[in-house]
C-alpha cells in the first residue's frame, strides 16, 4: 500500500488515493485535502463528512447518497452543490473512507 504525505502528515492510501486506515484521519487533514480539489471546508461541508464517519463506524461501509438522504437527512442536491461533480466520491475521499462501491 502506498503512503501519501501532505504538509508533514503521512497516511496510507489505496491505488486511487483513498485512505485505508480511518484512524489516520482528522478534520485538519480533510481541510488540507479539500484545498487540493479547490474546496474550502466550512461547517456546512463538514457536516456530511462527520455523518459519514459516524455511520460507517457502525456499518463498516461508506454510505451511499441515498443513505445520506434517508438516514442522514441531507438533501442530495445540496451535496452536489457543496461537492460538484462526484459528491459521493469526493466526500468519501475527504472523510478518510473507502471509495463507495454500490456492490458489484
Amino acid at each position: 500500500m502506498p503512503t501519501n504525505t501532505l504538509n508533514g502528515r503521512s497516511f496510507a492510501v489505496d491505488e486511487e488515493g483513498f485512505l485505508t486506515d480511518r484512524d489516520q484521519w482528522s478534520e485538519e487533514l480533510a481541510t488540507e485535502l479539500a484545498a487540493l480539489i479547490g474546496i474550502e471546508l466550512d461547517e456546512e461541508h463538514l457536516a456530511p463528512l462527520r455523518f459519514m464517519r459516524e455511520d460507517s463506524a457502525r456499518t463498516g461501509v461508506t454510505p451511499t447518497l441515498r443513505r445520506m438522504q434517508t438516514v442522514g437527512g441531507f438533501d442530495i442536491k445540496t451535496l452536489f452543490a457543496l461537492y460538484p461533480g462526484k459528491p459521493a466520491k469526493k466526500m468519501a475521499w475527504l472523510a478518510g473512507l473507502r471509495k463507495p462501491v454500490g456492490c458489484v
Binding site: 441515498r66 459521493a88 454500490g102 456492490c103 458489484v104
Partner: protein, 412 residues
C-alpha cells in the same frame, strides 16, 4: 419437533428447502411461505424483449419444493424474532425454531420521481426486471426503429448488475441485424465511474461498448425523469434526451423486512458476510438477495452461499461453531451480442480476471473474453437451473472461488 420456516420460494429459498430436506431428521418440519405460486427464471427476462417466449420463464413453485415441505401461499406481514413467530397478511401466526429469510429484492420505480408515476411509464420508459415489464419492452422494441435509446441503471445495488450491459449489447446486435443500427443512437447510463465496478472488468466491458459504438454516460446520479421533455435528469444538472428509455429502477428489500425492523435503510438484512447469519438474531439466516452482503445480487451467489450454508445451519442447530466461510463467490455470464458471451468469476476479495473456466487453460469457457462457448453455456444454464440447481444437486463448480486458470492483472 423442530420447526424450520423459509420465507420465499425463489432461487435461494427453494434450494435451501431441497438441501435441508435431505439432511434434516424426521423430527423437523419444513414450511415454505410465498405470496404466489409462480417461480420465474429471472435470467430469462433479458431475452424476452428479443426472442424468448414469456411463458417459458415461469413454472409452478410447488413442483420444485421437496415432498416433505409444506407450502403456504400467503404474503408475509411481519417477523417477530423475539417470539419466534411470523405473522402472515391474513393474520395467521407461524411459529418457528429457525428462520430462513429468502425474500429477495424488489425493483422500485416509485423511488425515482417521474419513473413509475410518469405518463411515459411502459410507453417510452421501460424496464425488464419484471415479467410484465419484459413483455411490454418486447412490444416497444418491435415498434422502435430510430431515435435515441438510453439503457440506464438508477443506483446500486441491483439484481444481476451486468444485465443492463447485456441488454445494451443485445439491443445493438438487434438493430445491427435489422440493418438499421445507424438509425438508433445507444447510450449506456450508469451511476458508476465506468462500465462496471471492478477495474479489469470495467476496462474490458468499456472497450466492448466502444467497439460497438455504444456511448457511455458515467457518474450519472439520476434525480428524476422529465416526462414532458423526455429527458433523464441528473443531480449535477446533466440532461439526456431519449425516445426510448430502458431503466433499471432502484432496488430495496421486501416491505415486511423493513416493517419488522430487520433491514438496513434499503431493506436488506445485515448478516455476517461469511456465514449469512443475522447479526442481530442468531436463529435467523438470510440467503440470496435479501441480505446486505457486499457482492452481486445474483442467482450464482445464492447458489454458492446456500451450498455452504447447509453445514453451517446444522452446526448452529447443534450449538457448534459454524464450519464454512462464504467468500462472496459470484459467476456471471454476460451476453455480448453476436452469439457470444463473456464469463465473470469473482468474490469479495478478487475482482473478475481473464483466464479459462472451469478447467485452467482448457476451459472450455473463457473468462472476460467474448466466446461462443460462453453464450452456449448461458443457454444451457436455463435447463441446469430447473433440473440441477433448484433440486439441490451439485454442479461441477466449487462453491469457493478458485484462482486456478486466472491471470493476475499485471500479466496482461
Amino acid at each position: 419437533m423442530n420447526r424450520l420456516l423459509i420465507l420465499g420460494a425463489g432461487t435461494a429459498g427453494t434450494m435451501a428447502a431441497n438441501h435441508l430436506a435431505k439432511v434434516l431428521d424426521d423430527d423437523w418440519s419444513i414450511t415454505v411461505v410465498d405470496r404466489d405460486v409462480h417461480h420465474h427464471y429471472q435470467p430469462g427476462y433479458l431475452f424476452v424483449p428479443f426472442w424468448m417466449e414469456p411463458d417459458r420463464v415461469v413454472k409452478d413453485r410447488r413442483d420444485f419444493l421437496p415432498a416433505r415441505a409444506t407450502f403456504r401461499q400467503e404474503a408475509v406481514r411481519l417477523v417477530h424474532p423475539e417470539r419466534r413467530q411470523v405473522e402472515l397478511a391474513g393474520g395467521d401466526l407461524l411459529d418457528y425454531d429457525w428462520l430462513v429469510i429468502a425474500s429477495g429484492t424488489v425493483p422500485r420505480p416509485d423511488l425515482v420521481p417521474g419513473m413509475g408515476d410518469g405518463a411515459l411509464w411502459r410507453d417510452a420508459v421501460h424496464e425488464f426486471y419484471t415479467h410484465e415489464g419484459a413483455v411490454a419492452l418486447r412490444d416497444a422494441l418491435a415498434g422502435f426503429d430510430s431515435g435515441r435509446l438510453l439503457v440506464h441503471v438508477s443506483e446500486m445495488p441491483i439484481k444481476c448488475p451486468v444485465a443492463p450491459l447485456e441488454f445494451a449489447f443485445l439491443a445493438e446486435d438487434h438493430y445491427r441485424r435489422r440493418r438499421i443500427r445507424h438509425q438508433v443512437d445507444i447510450t449506456y447510463v450508469t451511476p458508476l465511474d465506468g462500465a462496471f465496478t471492478k477495474p479489469v472488468a470495467s476496462a474490458e466491458l468499456g472497450g466492448l461498448l466502444e467497439d460497438r459504438s455504444i456511448r457511455l454516460a458515467a457518474d450519472f446520479a439520476v434525480e428524476r425523469i422529465d416526462n414532458e421533455r423526455r429527458r433523464l435528469v441528473a443531480y449535477d444538472g446533466r440532461e439526456l434526451p431519449f425516445d426510448l428509455l430502458v431503466t433499471v429502477p432502484p432496488h430495496t428489500g421486501q416491505q415486511f423486512v423493513t416493517d419488522s425492523g430487520l433491514g438496513d435503510d434499503a431493506g436488506f438484512v445485515p448478516v455476517d458476510k461469511h456465514t449469512l447469519r443475522s447479526l442481530e438474531h442468531e436463529r435467523i439466516f438470510v440467503l440470496g438477495d435479501a441480505s446486505d452482503i457486499p457482492t452481486s445480487k445474483a442467482g450464482s451467489v445464492a447458489h454458492f452461499a446456500t451450498e455452504l450454508f447447509v453445514d453451517n445451519f446444522l452446526a448452529a442447530v447443534a450449538g457448534r461453531p459454524l464450519p464454512n466461510s462464504f467468500d462472496g463467490h459470484a459467476n456471471c455470464f454476460v451476453e455480448s451480442g453476436r452469439g457470444q458471451a463473456l464469463l465473470l468469476d469473482f468474490n469479495y476479495d478478487t475482482q473478475p480476471l481473464k483466464g479459462a473456466f472451469p478447467v485452467p487453460v482448457a476451459g472450455p469457457m473463457r473468462l472476460l473474453t467474448p466466446s461462443r462457448a460462453n453464450h452456449l453455456g448461458k443457454l444451457v444454464f436455463e435447463q441446469l437451473y430447473w433440473k440441477v440447481l433448484l433440486p439441490g444437486h451439485r454442479l461441477p463448480v466449487t462453491a469457493h472461488m478458485s484462482m486456478a486458470g486466472k491471470k493476475p492483472p499485471e500479466e496482461d
